[in-house]
């Protein structure tokens, strides 16, 4: 008996086909696969920066799990009798002794430690560069502001996680870092002393810190990071990736190559490339040789103590601050610590977190943006970013003022004073210079559109005049160079768009109008069609 039905049943024959059919009958995965297997992702080298962060995090999880099998998170004192003879007979914490054991007695242990440390540096560095990419291309604009916030939170957590991990081996350098952290906690008004006693379980260094940090480092923070990375990626997937302007690329499409097979191979392969690169670093380049530092003893220190690079800015700010302290009504307010360690980073990080919302307020732009900005086309935003980088960079360099002093034979006082000035002057200069450069680049784009590219061919006219032939741009390039918006400052009426505005709102409106003038008051206009036609008819010069 045969009954013909309109939709014929597909009977899988291969093993893979049978397996997917089994799963589909229980989970309905074909629907998701239909939509996503051939999902299109755009291609650009800068889109791999986020991948670097994701992969280094996976490497951190893998190498970290290995390390937990051998690490003893305890401050209990033991006398070392292991195979690293220079420390033979020395009293140290179990944490430090087990780190020595991992480094010298567990085969592959040192490799895993070094992979873990290098991967942590790549992770934080990757986040910083990825964030700068997002910032300078305007990828944080609507609808991606929330993902910016998730990414920002991941950045903060990565710093916290890095510091916690750095502190676990309980060597002289990491203990010194913890001591500085305790000094900073003590400076917090009103609750600082209590926080320090709760955190360290009494006086510094106490006996409970390493096990507590261990839980924070291997469970609490990585758990949150993992959850947030998942949310971050789901949003990237759901909102679809941004792309650069170009022929055929619009705000309503995404042009690129399919997930299967191209991005599976490229992104999957890139994971192994990152892992391989970090494994080579771990095998060939020594990092954090804790046996050279010795166990932590609070009364000892080495000259040239340096934290990992991502703490350098905070360290530099601490070193730079003048020694202001207020003593009044029986209380002490340590501005010399509070300002560089709490207030300035607080302002910097808050500014970073809210920037997308600030810019949306300034531009009054409520559209969805899926086409990236070229940094030159948003000169003020780009200049703000550069000013931030300069500010951070000066602080970071000052974090190594002692090393700069010894390497370049300068006095540490001079370097500190120069940095104290530069941290104010540098960002202003960087802001100004960046805007000039952006305007210059925009003008060059404009010239290219109107007059074409220099061909390098010189002709001589019958009158004897030499001139270079300019070849007009292909239409794709014309489109690409004129695809951006040129924002205009909002007038007060545009900001308020009604007459009877109450006074406090009016003040805010005036502020907003001023902010848009600051952003867009000075600008390079795109060539108009009219200008283009005139340029053509006057003969490409």
């Amino acid at each position: 008996m045969s009954t013909s039905t309109s939709n014929e049943e597909i009977v899988p024959t291969t093993l893979g086909g049978k397996a997917s059919d089994y799963l589909d009958q229980r989970l309905g995965i074909a629907g998701a696969a239909k939509k996503n297997l051939r999902k299109i992702f755009p291609d650009h080298w800068s889109f791999m920066l986020g991948e670097v962060c994701l992969y280094s995090f996976i490497i951190l999880l893998l190498s970290g799990i290995f390390l937990t099998l051998f690490f003893t998170p305890s401050m209990g004192e033991v006398t070392y009798n292991g195979s690293y003879t220079p420390l033979d007979g020395i009293k140290m914490s179990e944490a430090y002794a087990s780190t020595l054991n991992i480094s010298f007695d567990v085969r592959g242990g040192l490799l895993m430690r070094q992979i873990h440390h290098w991967a942590a540096l790549v992770f934080v560095m990757g986040i910083m560069v990825h964030m700068l990419r997002i910032f300078f291309t305007g990828a944080f604009r609507k609808p991606r502001e929330l993902n910016w916030l998730i990414g920002f939170t991941l950045f903060v957590l990565a710093l916290l996680e890095g510091f916690a991990g750095y502190s676990l081996p309980d060597d002289l350098l990491s203990g010194t870092g913890l001591r500085i952290m305790q000094g900073i906690i003590l400076s917090i008004p009103i609750v600082g002393t209590y926080l320090s006693y709760f955190f360290f379980g009494g006086l510094f260094p106490g006996h409970v810190l390493i096990p507590r940090l261990f839980t924070v480092h291997i469970l609490l923070v990585p758990g949150i990071i993992l959850a947030l990375i998942t949310a971050h990626l789901i949003l990237v997937f759901y909102q679809k990736h941004t792309q650069w302007a170009g022929p055929g690329r619009t705000n309503e499409n995404v042009v690129g190559l399919p997930l299967m097979p191209v991005y599976m191979a490229k992104a999957g392969g890139f994971f192994f490339v990152v892992f391989g690169f970090i494994a080579l670093l771990g095998g060939l380049v020594s990092i954090n040789p804790i046996w050279d530092y010795g166990p932590y003893v609070p009364t000892q220190i080495t000259a040239g103590s340096q934290p990992d690079f991502y703490i350098g800015f905070f360290e530099g700010a601490l070193r730079m601050m003048p020694n202001w302290e207020i003593n009044a009504w029986g209380h002490t307010l340590s501005l010399n610590i509070l300002i560089p360690a709490v207030v300035v980073p607080g302002i910097l990080f808050t500014g970073l977190a809210i920037y997308p919302f600030f810019e949306a307020w300034v531009t009054g732009d409520k559209r969805e943006h899926h086409i990236l900005d070229r940094p030159r086309n948003m000169p003020t935003r780009t200049a703000i970013g550069v000013a931030g980088i300069v500010f951070y960079g000066i602080g970071w360099i000052n974090g190594g003022n002692d090393l700069v002093a010894t390497h370049f034979n300068l006095s540490v006082e001079t370097i500190t004073w120069v940095d104290r000035v530069l941290i104010f002057v540098g960002p202003v200069f960087g802001f100004w210079l960046t805007r000039r450069i952006c305007f210059g680049l925009q003008r060059r784009d404009r010239d290219k559109v109107l007059h074409g590219r220099e061909s390098g061919i010189i002709t001589r006219s019958p009158e004897g005049q030499f001139s270079e032939i300019h070849t007009p741009l292909p239409q794709g390039d014309l489109h690409k160079l004129t695809a951006h918006d040129v924002h205009r400052p909002l007038t007060l009426t545009e900001v308020t768009d009604s007459n009877g505005v109450p006074a406090p709102k009016l003040r805010l409106a005036k502020l907003r109008a001023r902010a848009t003038r600051w952003y867009f008051g000075e600008r390079v206009e795109k060539p108009t069609e009219e200008e283009y036609r005139q340029a053509i008819s006057s003969g490409h010069h």
Binding site: R179, G183, G248, P261, G268, G282, S305, T416, H479
Partner: protein, 360 residues
Amino acid sequence: MSGDMTHDEGHGSVAVEQEHGHGVVAENPFADPGLPEHQPRLTDIDEKVARKSERIVAGLFILSALATIAFMVCYTEVPNNTATIVDFFPIGAISASNFALGLTLGVALFSMGAGAIYWARTLMTDVELPQERHLLESTPEDKAVAAAEFQQGLEDSAWKQRPLIRRTLIGAMAVLPLPALWILRDLGPLPGTTQRQTAWTAGELIINDNSISLDGTQGSGIKPEDLQVGTLVSASPAAVLTAGDNAVNMMTMSAILLVRMNPADIKSQQEIDWGYEGIVAFSKICTHVGCPVQLYEQQTHHMLCPCHQSTFDLSDNGRVVFGPAARSLPQLPITVNADGYLVAKAGFDQPVGPSFWERG
């Protein structure tokens, strides 16, 4: 500045759009021409090139497998001890086991990735495809339906008509998380006055840190004649020798430095009085964030903290001469006891180490 630059102060310049009656170029010259035609790669048109690519990819995968096997061999065959090292420029000396394992693992992973990427770039499609992107915002109809559903849910719960339930629920929910804070109370003791106390009291013997035995229970005192002018010694109170588990905490608060100067170099009378024949004792804990100060300049009597470069003048009451520290290093008054050993004459007259809110 060229004429294309626009400068205005809020008057909102109007971009002049001129209409042209007689057409020169009718359509918009900047219009999107659409996706450019695909340019085939050599591997798309020449099977010989494609086969070469295939061999390269396969070669990388084979290299990866070989390196993986080499890794497992190196694990057992390369000895893991401090004597077996490799040393070559520019990497320097490194454990041979670490070198071999890192190299083989790195090659195994890297060539696996390089093979996959090379495959994708040369043999998989590079025809760019467009996919539609829908704006994320829902349609007004969907929004209206969602709002209505929500409203219905609200009404079904009587949330609005029963303010008593609403308010008590909000109130109860607001206090419910508080135990999460309460239960953390036993993380540590309250500070009390411990942040002000050190182990120094009148008559406390000063122990040379270098003389403390490895187990921390033996140590010897210092006689004035042991110290030459210009000598610097790290020292602790004798109490740390019997403090057991508490020794590290005690040293953190009570560590001191002894320096012997020519009494004529000392600028402050009080400092001379609190010292003994030019030997003065200062807290070793920096008043900035608590690192031990350690770098001593014999000629200037400047003491530098290596952490943040706070510099203290030990010949002038430990005054801050540079850096972020706000307060002088506290001086410990000392004298000698009946046996001729240096002891504390009294405790510190102020809390040592970093500032804290209650310090005053």
